[in-house]
Structure formats: C-alpha cells, structure tokens
Symmetry: D4
C-alpha cells in the first residue's frame, strides 16, 4: 500500500492530458515497484524515470514483464497505452546526449505518441543535420537535445515550422556548469519561438509535446 508516501492522482490524465508518471529519484526501489504495480493494476500505462542503479534489479525481480532501459534509466509497461495522432522528432547533438533523448522517447511512447530518434547531428558537423532535415520537417513537434554550447535548437528552429522544445543536457565539463551554459544558450536562442525545459529533462519535453498534441487530437 502506497498511502504513507504518495497519493496517486488517477484524474491527472483528464486534467493534464497525460498519465501519472513515477519520478524515481526520491523514492526507494520498493516504493517504485509498488507504485508501478498499482498503476498497472488500475489499467494505466506505466513509466518510471530517473531510476537509481539500485532500483533496476529490484524492478527486474518484482516486475519481470517491465521493460527497462538502463541508459535512459527508465522502466516501462506499455499494456494500456492508447495510440494518438502526431509524430515527434527527437533530435540530439552527440552520443552522450542519448540517455536524455531516450527518456523523451520513452515518455512519448507511454503517451501513445510516435517518436523518431535522430541522433548525433551536432552543429560542429552541420552537414549531418542538413542530411536529415527533411525527416525532421515531417514531425509535428521537435525535441532538440544538446549539451555543451546548446546550439542545436537554434539551427533547427530556423529550418522547421513546427514547435521546437530545447532540452539542455549536463554533457560537457568545466564552464558547461552541468548544463547551465546549454540552458542559458537555449533561453537566448536567436530563432523565434524556441522554448526550453530543465537540464536533462527529456521527460518534461515529451510532456510538453503531449500537451500540444492533445489539441491536435481534439481538433481532428
């Protein structure tokens, strides 16, 4: 029973357009497994993010049918996912940014949204991005994931008409300040209409997309 530590919010989907997720950072492995089971039993799609390393074997043992992505630090149960219209391109600058991009993809998956991962197209080799731009232009929204100088969203937003959500990552060292430089760069994007989420917050970027695509669903 989870009451002692959290009131599950089964109405959130109606209120906010996406299911309740489990933020693993501040919970014990046992608490996470418990909530996962409870949500699953209630017929909800299940996603736990920010799993600490010690949580993974516990979930594996307790819920063998859960799908676990170690890099992305996520655990998923897709049974009750309902497919929605809309596609999101999740574009990322370097291979070290992949875990954050994957957290975004997993979150989109649980929301029923199609995600297309386009990795390793950082701006220091601009031809790599240009080679994939037609594919990116087809998406209804773009999540642009980058660390270091965080320039990727600016370049993309100059090339597409869809909304661009920028995710700064903690990839870098020295004066990257754990992602703060990328965050600031993205906030100051010279391309109009880029919006930004917290450092390494692939999850939040996906939720923002879900909010946008809620409307597409409605207006269809």
């Amino acid at each position: 029973m989870t009451e002692p530590f959290a009131n599950l919010d089964f109405d959130r989907e109606k209120r906010c357009g996406f299911p309740e997720f489990i933020f693993g950072a501040g919970k014990t492995p046992e608490q996470i497994a418990d909530i996962m089971k409870q949500l699953h039993k209630a017929g909800k799609p299940v996603l736990a993010t920010r799993l600490k390393p010690e949580a993974i074997p516990v979930i594996r043992r307790e819920i063998p049918e859960a799908e676990i992505h170690e890099n992305a630090r996520t655990a998923l149960m897709r049974d009750y996912v309902q497919k929605r219209p809309g596609t999101v391109a999740v574009v990322c600058a370097g291979t070290s940014d992949l875990p954050v991009a994957e957290e975004a993809c997993d979150t989109l998956a649980i929301c029923g949204i199609t995600a297309r991962l386009i990795p390793d197209v950082g701006v220091a080799g601009i031809h790599r991005l240009l080679n994939r731009i037609e594919e990116i232009r087809k998406a209804d929204a773009v999540i642009a994931v980058a660390g270091m100088e965080g320039a990727l969203p600016s370049v993309i937003a100059g090339l597409v008409a869809a909304p661009v959500i920028a995710v700064p990552t903690s990839v870098g060292y020295g004066a990257s300040f754990g992602g703060v430089t990328a965050l600031l760069a993205m906030i100051n994007s010279c391309a109009s209409g880029v919006t930004v989420v917290n450092i390494d917050n692939g999850f939040g970027a996906a939720c923002a997309c879900a909010r946008m695509l809620n409307r597409i669903q409605v207006t269809d």
Copy 2:
C-alpha cells in the same frame, strides 16, 4: 533601401510559419520605419517590438496609419493579417507584467491568432485565478506571464491540458535579479510539460504558440 543594415527574409513565413518581425532594440528609429514600410509594401503584416522611446514619435510621423502600443513598446500594421484557427490565453500575474503580456498579444494578432488576455491573477490571491480557470481551459495554448517568484505557470499547468509557455518578467527587486529568479523557478516547475522562454520575451512565447498552431492548421 535597407540593404546596408539587414537582409529581409521574405521566405521565413514558409520556413517557420510566421512572418518576419522587426526587433527594435538594436535599430535606429529611421531603420525601423524603413523596414516597416518595406514589409507593408510587400503585402506582409507588420510588427515592430522593443521600440525605444525615441522611436515612437518617428514611427508616428513616418507611418501615421501604424498602431502603436506604448506600454508594450510595439508598432503594428494589421492590413495583411490572415486569420488562423486557435485561441491562446495570455494570463498574467500582476499589473506590472502587463507590457510583456501585451507584446505577446500583439505578436499573436499579427500571426492571425486570437488572444485572450487574463490579467492580475497572481498566486497570492489564488481565488482570482480559480475564478477564471474555465476560460483559460478553453484555450489551445496558455502563455503564463509572471515576475518575482514566477509561480503562476506551475499552478496553471496543474489545471489545464493545453501547452503552457511560461514567460518570466523582470518585475521585482532585490533578489529577483531582473527576472532570473522567475526564470529559474519556471524552469524548475513541478508541473510536467511547462516550457520557458527568455525574460520579458512575450514575443517569443507567442511565436512558440504560432509554431504549435501551425500544426493545427495543417491537420485540420
């Protein structure tokens, strides 16, 4: 002739889904008036933002038919605006946040999007926000404008399913650091899927909405 100082980008609308805007901060009043005329002659809707006080009489004199909003520091010419589907609620915390909210409204107007301004619903009097929540829920996107502790977007995002774009303002003093505190608070919103633009960037928030509503238009 404007060549010496800027190459106008008449293709941007196709590429990014909204017209070229004039960022007044780094231009002389004469340059601004020139570009406004040129865009208008080309049959484009016209918006100049961040007008410095000395620009206003010049524009008034040079382009008497332009609509000028002194608070918002904007000048508009609506002739060629094409109406689009979709409504955006522009919600703001205090009366001092109004100029930023109005910049957002003017930008939406020039993009052909209906904006609904909901002022003075800061979180220290939560009943004021709750009284207007049904109205806010009807919008396809919400722009939440607040300075000081920047809490408004978190509360709203817990109450609506639409995308919430948070605009921190420089309203405040002392440790508000010209809007940095509000910006950081919004980036750390405990409500999932809030995205953030630069301080006082009502314009950018509106562009983000235009990008989102591009898709509604497309999928209709």
Copy 3:
C-alpha cells in the same frame, strides 16, 4: 567530558527561549552521544539533528532509549519537554520534502509545541492544498516546505493570516541548484510577510516558530 570540543550553553533557554540543540554535521558519533547524555543528565530535552549515517548505530548503541528518525536524520529524548501553547502547521509540497518537514516537527516537539504535518500538497495540484486549507488556517504559524520552484509559501500566505515561514529544500535537479532556486523564489514571494530560512533548514524554521510562540506564552 565534552569540554575539549564544545562549551554547552545551559543559559540559552533563558536567553533565546529554546534549549540547546546538537548540530550533528560537524561532530563525531561519539561526541554527539556524549553531548546527548550530558544534556539529558542536566534535565534538558534533547535533540540532535543532521546525523550522518554512521552516527545512527552509535547513538542506538550508546543511548538505547533515544528515539531515532532515520529519514529526518534526528535523535530525540523527550523526557524533560515542557508543553507550551500554540500549534504549528508544517505543510510540504512533495514526498521528497518530508525529511525536512520532519526535522521541523521534531524540533517543535522538543520545544513543547504541537506540530501538525500536512504532506504532499504541492501547487501543481492546487486542489490538494485547498482541501486542507481550513486545517492550516487553525495553526498559529505555518512552516511551508518546498523544493523545485518553491511556490507553496506564496499560495499559502495568500490564504492565511498567520506567519508563514518558508523552507526551501534541495529537492530538484538541474537548474534547481540544490535548492537555491527555491530559496530565491521564496525570498521574492509576491505574498506579503513571508520570511525564509536556509535550504533544508527545517530546524531553523521551527526555532523561528518557537521564538514567535514565546511571546504568546508571555502574553497569555
């Protein structure tokens, strides 16, 4: 004998209205246990805070009758507590903020003040807070504990007439900067009369309440 490392200040209660507490962070487990015994022998209520993990088994072994709260990282001996008038509502935003809230509750307990813990009422689900507001209004003071964007105290202070002491927590990631964002947000609260203590300082917030309730006691 504790002289080598600390002069106990048995007059503090008279001077400041609350007993001497033991700040465990900079002391060895043995020093903590020693001072606890010494205070207890002197007929004082005993509270040690910020216990490091290695301190807990030592205290358990040395002072089996002490009450230990692992989450809150506190050890208590309530024998000589003297009950005082006044109630404090300790309200917290998320389950991860609980240890800080519990440190506040334990400190209040040792001061003889009644604490009422109201957990998990963060602003992203404002109905949860509104459901408990009558209970909060009954308190003589409110301690509002929150991490991330730190918005809870502003909302509460708009709803109650009692003093609101805001405690930022280090809960969050990325641009939460270990609680600095929440601290700054609380310092900039748009609700008048909110006061703030250091990050994770549930103890200090409780002491502030004890100082306030000193006066109630006096004026009764």
Copy 4:
C-alpha cells in the same frame, strides 16, 4: 476609477490580517494617488511604498493631507488605523540603512503596531548595540536591518528570545552585490530561528510582524 489597472482587494485584511498596501514601483503617480483616495474613502488606513521621486509632488498636490516620508519613499494616511497590542524593535546597523528601517516603521504604524527605531548600532562597534539591548529585549519582535556583511541579526538573535526578522539592504559596494551578500549572510545566520526577507524589503518584514502579532491579538 481604478479597474483598468488593479482590482482592489478589500477582503485581504480578513484573509491576511493586514490592509491592502500600494506598491508604488510599477504605477504612475496618478494611479497611486487614485488608489490612495479610493482606499481612504473606503475607511481603510493607507500606505503607499516605493514611491518614485516624480510621484511625491503629485501625491502632495492631489492629497495634501497625506503624510510623506521622502527618505523612506512612503506616503501614509493614518485616519483609520486601529491600534493593536505588541511592540516591534526596528534595529538598524548604519545610517544608510535608515530608509529601509523607516519603511518598516511606517508599515507597522499603518497596521496599528508600535514600532521603536534603534538606529546606528552596527556590529563593528558592538558596545553601541549592547547599550541598547535591554530596550530591544522588551519588544515582541525584532526587525534587524543591515547591509554590507549583514551580521547584525546574528548578534541580536543570540541576545533576545523574540523572533528576529532580518532585512538585508543594498547598502555597500563592490562585492556586496546590491545586498546579495547581506542576504546570503543572514540566510546562513549561526543564530537559530532568524528568518529573512528580500533586499531592502522593510515593508515585508513589517508584514511578517503583523502576521505574528495577529496571533497575540487573537489569544489575548
């Protein structure tokens, strides 16, 4: 008529225990004078703070009976003030901190609370503070105002049992960062139970005292 720019909140006194105040920073002189008149007509005590220099002659002309404190940048109308029990000592470190201390005193006055100003007792001449300590000890709450290294609240809180609200001021230069150093120092006070408000926020400290003394009133 004030509607266009602000909804007056006549219920605030019931809700928060003090009247609505007028924050002058973001309003035109005419708006301020208007709201002052409106509140006065409604039988409320009136306080406008943070007056810009240009507001003062306007208020003087429009409301000749208003009391104006140029240093504190305040305008008051005391007609409907209702006296309450309780005294607050407003202690300040240097002569440059006086305007902030006076803003606190004026706010207390409008709340009906007795304020006692104790100026120029900075810690670099500790005998000055010790000479006045008995007077300070008699107060129900202490507001300690200081810039530069912001040490005053720590010393006072070690000497009195009443609540101590620390107000950092922007007095200083270089690495005082407009009061940020004093703010941080106060947040880190080694004296237990000090709480802090924003830089130069004498007003907020007084509101915090009003909240505390609400309770004394109630329990009398």
Copy 5:
C-alpha cells in the same frame, strides 16, 4: 606631454608584433588626442578604441585628419601602416554585432592585415552562412562575432580548417547577461580548437590574429 598619465611603450611592436593601441575607456578626450598625436609624430600607425561619445568631437577638432567610426567607437590614422600578408574573415551573426566586428576590422587594418567583413549570417538562417562559406574558407583566420546564444563559431569551426577566434557580444537581453551566456557557450564549443576573447572584444580578437600572422610573415 603625456608622462603624467601613461608611459608609451614604443618597443611593444618588436616585443608583441603589433603597435601600441589607445584604450579610450579610461582616458579623457584630451588625453586620447594627445597620445594619438604623439604616436603619429613617432611614425606609428594610430588606433584609439572604446571612445566615449564625448571624445569624438574633441578628436575631430584636434586631429581633423583622423578617420572616425562612430559605430565602432574608433579613431584611426593609417599613414604609417605597413601591409602584411594574410587575410582575416570577420564574420558576424546579426546587425547588432556589427560595431564589435568593425572594431576588429579597424584593428586589423592598423596592423596591416586585410580584413573581409561578412555580416548577418546568424545560425537561425543557416543558408545565409552556407552561401558565404567558400569566401570564409579562403581566409587565414576567422573572427566569429555573435551575441545571444553565441552558436556561430561552433558552426564555422566545423566547416573551416583555419583558426577560429570567437568574440561574444553583449547583444541580447534577459538571461544573455550582457554577453556572459554567449561567452560561456563559445568556451564550451563542441567544435575543436575554437578560442575565445572577452565580451565585445573585437580588438583583442584582431590582436590574436596579428600574433598568428606574425608567424606567417616570419616563415615566408
């Protein structure tokens, strides 16, 4: 006679490979004009940078033959410039970055180096940069000038083999922090071998190029 305020360093050219320049920010207009005359009399090329507005009429009056660039805030006397081999491309992101780019061009000119200015090729319209890339590739060094998110140097450095010196500018607002965000972004460039100078320091970037081209000269 300039002794009272500065010892001119006529050996610097031998020691550092470029002449002594006059940093106008901390000098009176009269001092600047004096030093300009003195250097000119000594048969040196003359450049004064960072002229304050009040310096310009004084220099115009005192040294009518000097060339003054108001935007770049520079005054030049090219008489004794000695042409050197080598070309530098000075590339800048937006029209507001032009004054910094021009300061770089003027400094290069006085060092006898050919500068080619390539304006208005910011990354939000990447085609503009790509259209000019062959021209940039011909240069022996590139100075990349950009404010806001400062992404330009990263993109260029991925496309050219020459050294890229990044100059952050104070162009931007809000969280651009007067150029700090651009500076940090450039320091964190994901393109290898980008080096960075201070904010708005077009002059310093040009000096760095002069140092590099010293060697070309030597090895020819």
Copy 6:
C-alpha cells in the same frame, strides 16, 4: 562495429586540418578500444583523451601496442602521424597543472607538431619564467596552462610575439570554483591578443595551434 554509437568522420582532417579524436569521457572502455582499432586500421593516427580509470586496463589488454599516459589520461598510437612544420611551447604554472599540459602535448604529437613542455614557471616566482623566456620565444605558438589566479598567460603574452592560448585548470580550492576564476582572469587578460579555451582543455588548445599551423604549412 561502432555504428550504433558514433559515425566516424574520416573527412574531418581535410575539413578541419586535424584527425578525428576520441573523447573518452562519455564512452565505455570497450567503445573506446573499438574506435581506436578502427581508426588505426584506417591508417589514421589515434588519440583518446579523458580516459576514465577503468578504461586504462581495458585498452592495455585490447591494444597492447598503444601508448598510455595515466596522468594525462590519454592513449596514443603514433604510427601514421605525419610530421608538420612548427613548434609549440606548452608552459605551465605548477606541477598540478601538468596533466592538462601533457594532454596538450599528446594532442600536438598526434597532429605531427613539435611540442616543448616548460613546467613549473608560475608567476609567484617570476625568475623561473624569465629564465626560460628565450626558449619560449622560439616557439610558433604558446599554450599557457595555469590554475588558481591564472596569471601566467598575461605575463607571457607581454614577452612574446607569438599567439598565446590560455588554458585555465581546475587546480585550486575554495573560491577557485574548479577553474572558473582562472578562466575569468584569462578572459580579462590585460595583455592584448590572449585567447582562451575551456577549463582543463589542453586538447582544445592544441587543436587551436593545429589550426594556426595549418596555415604555416599552406604558405610555406
């Protein structure tokens, strides 16, 4: 096969003038060894930097012929290095700065450039630097490596005509902020034409030199 995690960029040498390097920080030991082998097989010189301690035994086992520098955290294979003209002096302030200086030397070696290491010439014993200055003056470029107050590049740049690339290191404690103070000091160098790379980025400084010496090669 490395495709899943990185597209090797065999054209970079032509485009940027130096080979592809392996940044070890974000890769598993196995990935690093794989890429090293692949590059070697393609007839490229090989350098892996920022090796984590656990990578070293793996590389040793997998590629016994690789040269490993534990201090510098690098692994090299020099077989296909092509010697180029030009010498770089790598000057460092203290013995703790050596690993960063050595990373620079190894990178230069793989680019075919002669490096001369001049250690332990910090400015607090200026005679040590002056004793070596003639040697430094012979170099075509200088890399100046320093932590703490980061003063070395300023002193050197006043003594040599070659380009000076400043590398701040994370050597220091307290208010050195992991190298940020040295970085800021170097950005503010009073010597004209110093350029700066990220903290501890010996690699990047060497790449900047390679870019400069590309041109010497071309013009010979």
Copy 7:
C-alpha cells in the same frame, strides 16, 4: 549638529588605531561638510572618501581650506596628523587604477604613514615592475592595486617579504564583472600570504596597513 544622522566615535582611534573617517557615499554634501568641521574642531585629522560629484563644490565652499582630490573622490584636512614610522608602497597596474591607489595614499597620509605611489607597472609589461622592485622592497607593507585579471599582487608577493594587501578594482569590461574577476583572482593568489579587500577599497587597504604599523610603533 550631526546627532540626527550619526554618532561620531571619538574613541575609535584608541580602540582601532586610526581616526574616524567619513564615508561619503550615503551622506548629503551638507552632512559631510558638517562632520568634517566637527572632527576638525575636535582636533582630529579629517578624511572624507567616496565623495559624489555634487559634494565637491559644497565642501569647497563650506571648507575652503580642505584639500580635495577629484580623481580619488576625497577631501582631506591634514592639520592634526601625527607622523608615524613606517612606509607603504602603493603599487598599481594601470592608469585607470590610479583613483583607487590615490584613495589609499590619502588614507595613509591622514594616518600619518608615508606612502610611495608606484603607478603603471602592470604584469603585461613585467620589465616595468622589475625596474621598480628595489623601491618596493624597501616598504614595510605593499598595497597592490589592479583590475582586469588582478595578477599584480601574486607577482609582487613572490618578490618581497613584506605583507601584500591586494585591492581589486572595477577597471575592465565584459567578464571582469565590475572587479569580481580581479577579486577572485587575488583571493586565489598562488603566492602565500596575500590578503584581499573589497573592490575599489583603497581606503580599507590603507586601514589594514595602519593596523599593521600600529604594532611597529608599539614595539619600537
């Protein structure tokens, strides 16, 4: 009569070893002139620092015999100065640092201490400093004044055995952050035993010297 705004502290000389000084920043011109007269009448040496421009004509008119240094923003009356043993070298990096150096010299003069000003010996031309080093070595204490990268104190402290007090100045631009970079650099000096005062605080550095030379006086 000065009572309303400040209690003069005639005992300070006995207590702290130097007279009371007048910090002009927070006082009106009339207050400053008043206190100057009062101290002079009491037979004290008089120094007012940080005079605002508008204070200078008032002091000139009110106290024609006062000596005014406009650059240093000081006013002095030397009548009652008592000469003490000891000499202080006040060394400064650039001509823009002179006002701060002169404030130090004036303060020393009023304390009766001999000051020797050694200007324009910044580290980018190290020969200038070395030319004057014997003179500096003769002093009992050294005040080293520098802005930008603040390297001067480190170099000097490696060359002299006397105490070195570092004064960062606000000279610089961009990432000098108004002197913060110089302050941090000095705090991180690699030379042992350098101590630091606030930005532009020539006055404080002189007071520190007076404290040191108090002791020389005593032990003679």
Copy 8:
C-alpha cells in the same frame, strides 16, 4: 630525488620571509614524504598541509619522528624552527572551524611565531567573545576564522587595533555555498581594515602574519 615533479626553492625564506611549505593536495604520499625528508636534511623547518587521508600512514611510516595533526591535515618537523618575536591570536567561531584554525597555528609554529588559539567564540553568543577580548587584544595580529555568515572578523576588528585577517571556512550548508557566503561577508566587513584570504586557507592567513611580523623583527 624530487626533480621530476618540483624544484625546491631554498631561497624563498630570504625572498618572502618564510620557509618553503609543502602543499599536499596535488602530490602523492610518496612525493610528500620525499620532499619532507629533503627539506629536513637541508636544515629547514618542515610543514606539509592539506594531506589527503591516504598520505598520513605513509608519512607516519616513512618519517616516524614527524608530528601529525589529523584534524588539521598537517605534518610538522619542528627541529630547525627559529623563534621570532610576536604573538598571533587565532580566534574561531565554532568547533567545526577548528581544523582551519589549527592549520593556521601549525603554520605559525613552523615560522617561529607564538600562536594562541581561542576557539568557540561565535557571534551568536557574543558574551563568549567579550570574555576573551583582553587576551585577543594582547596579540600583534588576529586571525579570525568563521564559516556560515562569517561575522566574527567584523566584531573583533571593532574591538582591537591589531591587524585582523579573516579566514572564511566551508562550514555551513545550503546557501553557504561551501564558504563563499562567509568569504563575501568578510570582504564586505563594515569594520575598516579587515583583509581576507581564500576559503579554509588557515595556512595563507598565517603566512600573511609572518609577512607582517617580518617587519617587527626588522625594526626591533
């Protein structure tokens, strides 16, 4: 033989007035033991500071006659210490500041200067400081060690005429930022003539005292 990693500077004593010390942070245990032996063999007093835990058993084994202070993280060999005139009071605020104070005492001891440790006199219990003030007043210099709000040096400097060197410590949590708040507070001391060293730099404060007392020695 130590050459590979450091050139010992046997002349430093003549140049700077104190012997060469060993900064243990960046050296291996074996290197530290080696240098200690070498200095001792040369007839010098020996002090190693900032020993890492793993260095202590190595030194104990290699140099059994060395005196090791685990708290202060120092190792000493006092054989060749030469006693000098002068006494320094090392005053510290809390028991957690003791290691830093002890590092200062050990450094003074090796310089031949008498140190008097006065612990646990923090400003929140001002009577403790006042009880010891006569003892402090007898010293030729005062080192004031404090973390958190760093107020101790200000209070002391108002009570003594000797030089006061402030040492901020990393004691504290949350917004103490590892000692930055204490550092800033000390830099902004309202008491004239306080000078400051780096965080936790007890060693540097002692060296500053040695520099001061050099002069006493000379002038005796």
